[in-house]
């Protein structure tokens, strides 16, 4: 089992529905996003265009973040998902320094999304969280256990995302990842991400 994701950038419209779905699913404090969309401009007038790169955690096979974590709080599961154990995290932020994708966030403070008082939903979702911990995308592990796909995949209105076992060729995601136009971000860093992008444009 090796969970992975393919994002078809030819379909992605940069609407940020994935980011909002992720926020809603995890109820993270204000300013903390497990997912972001990088937008960029390319070309020149009259052929200028705007592109989008949705960036969840890449759940790399070679994990620089896990390598530097002193307490093994950051760990990679057998199913390929990289997690942070909030009981072990000491908040040294070495993993954030090591991650080439900026996929990790530090809980600098626990601010409610609608002001200082946290809503009951936030209180429920933020159980066990406290300032000083590192958090990150976990491919919606709790949803996977219920047989669902991650919130970003489920929500995407353009159906630009595919999720599943990269090792099982029966999955659509494995077939897409094997395509020649499926690319990984920062391939030169040899992290071998489990998130692939389908695009003809150059990627960093």
């Amino acid at each position: 089992m090796n969970y992975g994701m393919v994002i078809d950038l030819k379909r992605c419209v940069g609407c940020n529905a994935c980011t909002v779905a992720c926020r809603a699913e995890h109820g993270m404090p204000a300013g903390v996003n497990h997912h972001r969309i990088v937008k960029y401009e390319s070309g020149a007038y009259p052929k200028a265009k705007m592109g989008f790169i949705p960036m969840p955690c890449m759940h790399c096979r070679e994990t620089p973040c896990v390598a530097v974590c002193p307490t093994n709080a950051s760990h990679r599961q057998d199913d390929g998902i990289t997690l942070v154990d909030k009981e072990k995290c000491i908040g040294c932020r070495a993993c954030m320094q090591a991650c080439p994708y900026g996929a990790r966030q530090f809980l600098w403070a626990m601010q409610g999304y609608f002001g200082e008082t946290r809503t009951p939903y936030e209180q429920h979702k933020q159980k066990g969280l406290a300032p000083g911990l590192v958090v990150k995308c976990n491919f919606c592990k709790h949803r996977l256990e219920e047989g669902k796909t991650p919130a970003c995949v489920f929500t995407c209105p353009a159906q630009a995302r595919y999720f599943g076992d990269l090792d099982d060729p029966r999955y659509e995601v494995a077939q897409f990842a094997a395509r020649p136009d499926a690319r990984q971000l920062k391939k030169d860093r040899a992290t071998n991400p489990a998130v692939y992008y389908i695009t003809e444009d150059p990627l960093p």
């Binding site: 093994n72 932020r93 809980l107």
Partner: protein
């Protein structure tokens, strides 16, 4: 002298008190409430100061170890250098713990099931080893026939500590490839700053052992050599005058210490002032290293154009905690020095 010492201790205790208050604020409200750090710039003044104090401790231990192994003139200054190194380790350790998101969990670092691949674990192991070597010396627990072994292990411990620091800075991948002189420069600048601290301590205590200006010059040549090598253009690149602006203040300091040495001014006010300037230069150099490491955008242009910029200015709380850490370093150094006087 005693009056000056009392004033220094009172000031340092006051600084530690203010820092303690600032730390409690950080502990209760979270690091975000007390520091101006962000996800894109997550290591700030505390880590810079930890590297600075660690560099001083590592450099002092290396100088002491080599001097005792070779029977150099500075071997007699070993108690002073070890006291200063222990002070730096105490100050640096406090600042490292203060920078953690969950400071009480720093105890997790001594658990045997830690990640052996992590530079932080190695840093902590070297830190503990250096501290242990210093404590053995302080309490006069090193048998005379094992002094050589102790000196070797101490120098090696200091070296390993600095190597672990270098590895720490390499957590951003590709840094070593960009600057192969990073490790050499780290060691050389540590030795130089340790020489600077010794020059200041010699002047303050009016104990003149060896030549501070000669030590400053020798270590300064090494530090400046690696600093210049680091900014030299790669084959095919055109050299720019701007690149040499970084090592320029260091060159000026080296020149002054060289003149001092040639003029026979081995110890005294001028070498002490040069030493102080070297300490400031090294402290700023640590800031530059951290800034260079974090300022680089994660995605190249044009992809990173709209990403959050890595900007950072230390907050008042951070400065207070840093001042407290420095105060603790001075007090710990003085205490170690007096314990040594009692034990020897």
């Amino acid at each position: 002298m005693i009056a000056l010492l009392i004033v220094v201790i009172i000031v340092c205790l006051a600084l530690a008190g203010f820092a303690g208050r600032a730390f409690m604020h950080h502990y209760k409200q979270g690091l975000g409430a007390s520091a101006d750090l962000k996800d894109v710039y997550s290591w700030g003044l505390h880590i810079q100061a930890f590297f600075f104090f660690g560099a001083l401790a590592g450099g002092l231990l290396m100088i002491t170890g080599f001097s005792m192994l070779t029977g150099g003139a500075l071997a007699a200054a070993a108690p002073m250098a070890i006291a200063a190194a222990l002070g730096c380790l105490a100050g640096g350790g406090i600042l490292l713990v203060a920078d953690l998101g969950r400071p009480l969990r720093s105890l997790f670092l001594i658990k045997p099931d830690g990640n052996k691949r992590s530079p932080i674990i190695w840093d902590f192991a070297c830190f503990s080893f250096c501290g242990l070597m210093g404590l053995l010396f302080m309490f006069n627990l090193v048998p005379l026939r094992l002094t050589g072994l102790w000196a070797f292990l101490t120098a090696g411990g200091g070296f390993a500590f600095l190597m672990a620091h270098t590895h720490f800075l390499l957590t951003r991948e590709g840094k070593l490839a960009q600057n192969p002189f990073l490790a050499l420069g780290m060691i050389a600048s540590s030795l130089w700053s340790a020489a600077g601290l010794l020059a200041v301590v010699f002047f303050m205590t009016t104990v003149h052992l060896g030549s501070a200006s000669a030590l400053l010059t020798a270590t300064g040549i090494a530090a400046l050599g690696t600093a210049i090598a680091a900014v030299l253009p790669a084959p095919g690149e055109t050299p720019t005058l701007r690149a040499f602006r970084r090592p320029a203040p260091g060159a000026a300091l080296l020149l002054v210490s060289l003149i001092c040495m040639l003029a026979g001014c081995a110890n005294g006010l001028i070498p002490a002032l040069v030493g102080l300037a070297v300490l400031v230069y090294t402290f700023m150099d640590k800031q530059r290293q951290l800034r260079d490491m974090q300022a680089e955008p994660l995605l190249p242009e044009p992809f990173g154009r709209f990403e959050r910029k890595a900007e950072y200015t230390p907050s008042k709380n951070e400065w207070l905690i840093f001042a407290g850490g420095a105060g603790v370093a001075v007090i710990a150094g003085i205490i170690a020095w007096y314990i040594m006087k009692l034990c020897y």
